[in-house]
Symmetry: C2
Subunit: 235 residues, 2 copies
Amino acid sequence: MSKYSKQTRLLTAIDCIVFGFDGVDLKILLVKRGMEPEKGKWSLIGSFLQQDEDLSKAASRILKLLTGLSGVYLEQLHAFSNPKRDPIERTISVAYFALIDIHAYEKQISHEFHAEWFRLDKIPKLIFDHDEMVEMAKEKLQYKAALHPILFELMPEKFTIPQLQNLYEGVYGTEIDKRNFSRKLLSTGLLVKQPDKERENSKKGAYYYKLNKNNYKAKFQAFLNIIPNSHKLKG
Amino acid sequence: MSKYSKQTRLLTAIDCIVFGFDGVDLKILLVKRGMEPEKGKWSLIGSFLQQDEDLSKAASRILKLLTGLSGVYLEQLHAFSNPKRDPIERTISVAYFALIDIHAYEKQISHEFHAEWFRLDKIPKLIFDHDEMVEMAKEKLQYKAALHPILFELMPEKFTIPQLQNLYEGVYGTEIDKRNFSRKLLSTGLLVKQPDKERENSKKGAYYYKLNKNNYKAKFQAFLNIIPNSHKLKG
DNA sequence: ACAAAAGTGTTCTCGTTACACCCATGT
DNA sequence: ACATGGGTGTAACGAGAACACTTTTGT
C-alpha cells in the first residue's frame, strides 16, 4: 500500500533525565554536547530515534551507552514538541527519566562523553528546552515517590535507614522525624535487616538493610504514604 | 545551518481518548475511520501533527473539530512508538486523554465523522494499538481521580451528589457508602449548593450543586482521598 | 567524660469506616 | 399507604504526627 501523502515527517529524539544519589545529595547526570548546534554546552543525554527501535529501546540504548548500565528504572515522562525547540530542524523529543544506583555507575563510567553529576540546586543552564524537562522530571519524581517506593532504585544493594531518610529529605527539601520515618519504612515489610553495620558516618554504626524484592514488586503499586503531609505538595 | 543528516524522519500522530459521562455510564467517543487502511473500522479520534503546531495544539484542534468544544480538560498520556503499529508507514502516536461534559457535546455534535459513544465495557475492537491506548487511559483516569478532583470535568454545570457518586462508582466499579461519600465531598469545599432540585431521578428530588471554581483550582493539586481504600488500587 | 549519630515507645488527634433511620414526593 | 431515592448523625477504629530519652563508641 502507498504511504500517507502530504504529511509532515519529523525527527524524533529521546532525552534522559538520569537521577543518582551519592548518600548525601540527589544529583542528575549531564553531558557536554558533542555536536552542533550548541556544541560544548551542557545537555541531557540523548539521541535520535533509530529505524526499527521504539522509544523505550532507544532510551535503554542511550543509558547503556552513557552509563554502561542495563535494567535500570526507566519511565516515559513527556513528549516535547514546540516547533522551535531545536533551531536546526524541527524535532520532537520524548523525555525519559531514569533512576540509577550511582555506585554501580561509578564502576562502569566511561569518560568519552564528558558526563558529570550535578546537585539539583546547581544545575547549569541547559540547551534547548532541557531545563523544562528537568523541572518536570523533578516534579514527577516527587509526585511518584510520595506514592510508590521508587526511591529504592537509587539506593545501593545494602543501605541504612539514615541514608534512606537523607534521600527522602533531599527529594522533598524537608526534614522528617526519624522515629516516624523508620517506623513507617519498617512497617512496609520492604526492608530486610542485615547483621552488619555501616560505620563511616557514625560511631555507633547503623544497621544495613536490603530490599525485599518480592515485597517490592507486590507493593510497588500500593499507595504508600511515606512523606508526611504529602497532600500539601503540588503535583 | 544545515540539517541533521542521516537521521530517520517519521510521521507523528495524535490520538485522543475522550471520556464522557451521561449521568449513568462512563463512556468514550469513537469514530469510524475515514481513510485507508482499516477504513470503516472503529478508531480513536486522531490526526497527523501539522507543521508549526505542537502536540497539545493538535489535540485541541482534533477535539474542536470532532466535538465542537474548546477549553476542555486535556492531558498528554503517552507516546506509542512500536515500529509496526501502523502497517502503512512508521508513525509515532502521542495519545491524549480528554474529559468533556457530554451534555455540552450533544449541543455541538457534528454527524459528519460518524462518532459514537461507547460504554467502557462495550468497546469494540479498535484499529492499530488503540485498544492499548484506551486501556492505559482508563488506568490513568482511575489513578488521577483517586488523588485529584478531575471527575468534575465530566459533570454538567449543575449536578447532584447522587450523580457524582454514580460517576465515581462507575470509574472504580465499586459501591460507595452514600453518607461517607457526601460528607467527604462536602468537606472539600468544592461544592456550592443551589436552591433548586433535580427531579427526574427521584420523587423527593436531589439538590443541585455547582463547582466552586476558585477552590477547584486551588485544591486541584491537593491529594484528596475520595475513594475509600484507594491504596488497594493498582496504579 | 563527652560528643555524635542510632535506635526506640507513647500519647493525642483526626480522618476513615461502618452502620440505620427519617424525609419528601409521586403513584 | 407505600414505594423510591435523598439526606443526615454517631461510635469505633486506625493511621499519622508530635515528642525525649537511652545506647554505642570514637576521641
